[in-house]
């Protein structure tokens, strides 16, 4: 169990930021979602060992969040949302410096800095001054300094912000690779749901200081009835009529896009047979799931 929180309460003066959060997370990649002001940043601060909750207890990586905060920070990597660098130096010095501050011996820090910069895709530019870096490079630099000391827990705050489509794809691939290792827990806070879906297996949704939903994305999204998204080529009218006659429920959402509800007793094969008879090509056939967006909206209690 990497993160265990029991009934955490935190107030900033009179503002109740967290009201009774109980959470248990083990290995894997977890997405942290929530509307602005839901308490995500406060939760991260507590997990990072930076704030102590007024009530409740917890352990991160086995260390108590009240008494052993600096131990937590030794084994945690943090990739902040804002750009951060130190002017006048190159990437190797920068990364090695933060490795040293985490407790690595100097030479080890330098060695690991090179490895990590290559991994993050900054190999060619690691000797250049940081002020010359583009937005995408700064993002990778932040990731590099977060993993240089081989943390057991990695916090990524909006890791794809300010990146162009290529950069986003590459960072997401790096994150997927890191979280595929069995012994690093990755916690990603992001507003871009497609990113969370592509990287994370679990999700934690906060709202108004409380836990609104938590669990495996695939389980949460699963619809318990057989709804399929179908894209066709050809004249769909006949097919829709036939399907309805067979007891299916069919909704045409967009041009050539159908939502087909298959009754329990029907076989998939019958659907395809009907399509062939009507000379309609089936170009897309996939089980519908709730979108993460709908899940989010439902968890947060909006429309």
């Amino acid at each position: 169990m990497i993160i265990e929180l029991k009934d955490i309460h935190f107030n900033y003066g009179r503002i109740k930021a967290l009201q009774g959060i109980t959470l248990r997370l083990s290995e894997g990649a977890v997405g942290l979602l929530g509307p602005n002001g839901a308490g995500k940043s406060t939760l991260l601060r507590i997990l990072l060992g930076f704030l102590a909750p007024q009530k409740g207890e917890g352990r991160v990586l086995g260390y108590d969040i009240r008494l052993e905060q600096s131990h937590i920070r030794r084994y945690v990597g943090y990739m902040p949302e804002d750009d951060c660098l130190i002017p006048g130096m190159d990437a190797v010095t920068f990364t090695a410096h933060f490795g040293e501050l985490s407790g690595m011996p100097r030479q080890e820090a330098i060695k690991r800095a090179h490895d990590v910069l290559f991994y993050a895709g900054l190999g060619e530019s690691r000797y250049r001054l940081l002020e010359t870096y583009s937005a995408g490079m700064k993002q990778r630099l932040k990731l590099a300094q977060a993993i240089v000391h081989d943390p057991k827990l990695l916090f990524l705050d909006e890791p794809t912000s300010n990146l162009d489509p290529q950069g986003r794809k590459e960072i997401l691939e790096l994150i997927k690779d890191i979280s595929s290792k069995k012994d690093i827990q990755v916690l990603i806070s992001s507003h871009i749901l497609t990113d969370i879906e592509s990287v994370c297996s679990d999700v934690v949704i906060l709202n108004k200081g409380q836990l609104a939903a938590q669990g495996k994305i695939s389980e949460l999204k699963q619809l318990h009835f057989r709804l399929y998204e179908v894209k066709i080529k050809g004249d769909g009218e006949g097919l829709v009529k036939k399907l309805k006659a067979m007891g299916y429920k069919v909704d045409e959402t967009e041009d050539k896009l159908l939502k087909v509800y298959m009754p329990a007793e029907r076989e998939i094969l019958e659907f395809f047979r009907a399509a062939e008879e009507e000379q309609v090509q089936i170009r897309r056939f996939v089980r519908s799931q709730t979108s993460l967006e709908d899940l989010f909206a439902k968890a947060v209690g909006v429309d």
Binding site: H71, R73, R74, Y78, E81, I86, H97, L101, K181
Partner: protein, 289 residues
């Protein structure tokens, strides 16, 4: 035969707690200072008085050999506590210390504020006091090297060239004074520079501030003193306050008839203000917004 595994690899070392967690900050700060264009020039230039005074010690001892050249028997150059006081409170030395601060210390905190790197520091096992100690140690390194080391070298040279220990015997408190005054100068300038550095995100602005505040207060003092002739105005100038204290510590007569403890109180007040502002500025930066 093996092939290197693609993808993320782990590090097989162990993270250790450091004895001095702030040491990397200090070492980095010192290296970065030396990379700056004018720093080497200014820093080594500030050692010139040290060399001059060292030479003076040599000459003052060997002046016996030149005695026959000189009419009269008075010593021209005498090495005594006043000599030390002259070195340590010289306008040039104090000014050079301010210039060193301008080049090496202006960006210490302001750069971190501007480029948001405080978040990275505090997500490490680093306390706020460690961060401040690390930054302060950079300034301590440069300034102590400029004060304590020459001070002790003077004493050693004097002993060497005079061939005996009677110098130390007559002024046994002198090494102690050297240490105390060096620490005083260094601590004051350190807090002064870090305080100003935490006030702004713009390094250029801070460097102007460090320079201008020092100069402005001195000019202000000069203006009021010339016009009103009240010695109390001496307390306006940072330079004069430091010099008054220097005179007291080296048991010399101060330049202005103002008791030394006033100067000390003023400097202490500034240091305390600096300390509290620093703590609040660093505290005010959250790791996660």
């Amino acid at each position: 035969m093996t092939i290197r595994e693609k993808g993320y690899t782990h590090w097989d070392g162990e993270l250790k707690e450091r004895r001095l967690p702030w040491w990397p900050i200090t070492w980095l700060g010192i290296r970065l200072a030396f990379k700056k264009k004018y720093f080497k020039f200014i820093y080594f230039g500030s050692f010139i008085p040290a060399f001059v005074f060292l030479a003076g010690i040599y000459i003052s001892e060997r002046i016996e050999d030149f005695r026959y050249m000189i009419k009269g028997s008075t010593r021209i150059l005498e090495v005594n506590p006043a000599y030390f006081k002259t070195y340590f409170t010289s306008d040039f030395l104090l000014f050079m210390m301010v210039m060193i601060l301008v080049v090496s210390a202006a960006g210490l905190i302001s750069d971190d504020l501007k480029y948001n790197s405080l978040q990275l520091y505090f997500s490490r096992p680093l306390e706020k006091r460690d961060y401040l100690i690390g930054k302060a140690a950079i300034i301590f390194f440069f300034l102590l090297l400029l004060t304590v080391v020459p001070g002790f070298l003077f004493i050693i040279f004097k002993l060497l060239f005079s061939g005996g220990f009677h110098f130390i015997a007559s002024y046994p408190w002198l090494p102690f004074s050297v240490i105390v005054y060096s620490l005083l100068l260094t601590s004051f300038f350190c807090l002064y520079a870090l305080f100003l550095s935490s006030l702004s995100k713009n390094r250029r602005y801070v460097s102007i501030l460090i320079f201008a505040a020092y100069l402005f207060l001195d000019i202000l003092f000069g203006f009021f003193y010339e016009n009103f002739r009240k010695p109390a105005f001496a307390l306006l100038s940072l330079k004069v306050n430091l010099q008054q204290l220097g005179a007291y510590i080296f048991k010399q007569k101060p330049a202005y008839p103002v008791p030394w403890y006033w100067s000390f109180l003023i400097l202490l007040a500034i240091c305390s203000l600096a300390y509290f502002v620093l703590r609040s500025k660093i505290k005010g930066v959250e790791v996660v917004k």
